[in-house]
Subunit: 141 residues, 2 copies
């Protein structure tokens, strides 16, 4: 199984060091759009010597190579995800969780608007998620 991560890294011309394989595995198995800090905290127990700088460097490297996506979903948080297909992010203002939405995509891809050439885009929605709605009735506190 780890072999797959190694292959993925090599395909992207990234030499598959232990740290990089573990970080990629973490992102694959934790599809919760973690922050760099959360990746670090999730791995440091198993990798005593892991440094935060390595996590930051590695995530940046993965983003630049197109292996993962970097998101900025309201409130100025940098988060990462393994899923690089176009999709929309929805953030619940109660529980704070971020959900993926696979509808209404590819609206803007490779289009030209007002003479600006568009390469990529982010669509972020904000509101109350279905499970918070069910919990509290319909009070928008």
């Amino acid at each position: 199984m780890l072999q797959n991560y190694k292959k993925g890294l090599i395909n992207h011309k990234i030499s598959p060091t232990t740290q990089r394989v573990k970080i990629l595995e973490f992102l694959d198995k934790n599809r919760t759009h973690p922050t760099a800090e959360q990746v670090y905290l999730g791995l440091k127990d198993k990798m005593i010597s892991l440094s935060k700088a390595t996590v930051y460097n590695t995530l940046k490297l993965f983003v630049e190579s197109g292996l993962i996506h970097e998101l900025t979903v309201f409130e100025n948080e940098t988060r990462y995800e393994y899923n690089t297909e176009n999709h929309i992010h929805f953030k619940c203002i109660k529980c704070g969780n971020i959900f993926d939405i696979h509808e209404g995509n590819k609206i803007f891809a490779e289009s030209v608007i007002n003479g600006h050439k568009i390469f990529d885009y982010q669509i972020n929605l904000r509101g109350i998620c279905n499970s918070c709605l069910n919990k509290n009735g319909e009070n928008n506190a």
Copy 2:
């Protein structure tokens, strides 16, 4: 003219202190989606004693009252704008400027997707703006 800003503040139940009026005026006259830092730098010459904390507090107050909008347009930058109508932001990866786009709006407003109730949304596009395209021909460096 300043009277209008005062009225605007009072309408939003915000007491119109000197600092608040000046900050609102700055946002009205500088429609470049400035950061908090830029607001501070733009005003401190005329208001010697202005504190950064006041700028941050005031911007947050304005956002909470709905007087201005807070944006997060890629690269984790918090910016502010006076224009609170729904619109799309386009960021040029060459010059870094952020442009407003008034097309394709109101797609998601007040809708429900996957059972999540949507209150507001941000759509951020990224690419090369028309003036950068004209400058350099069409090299996507």
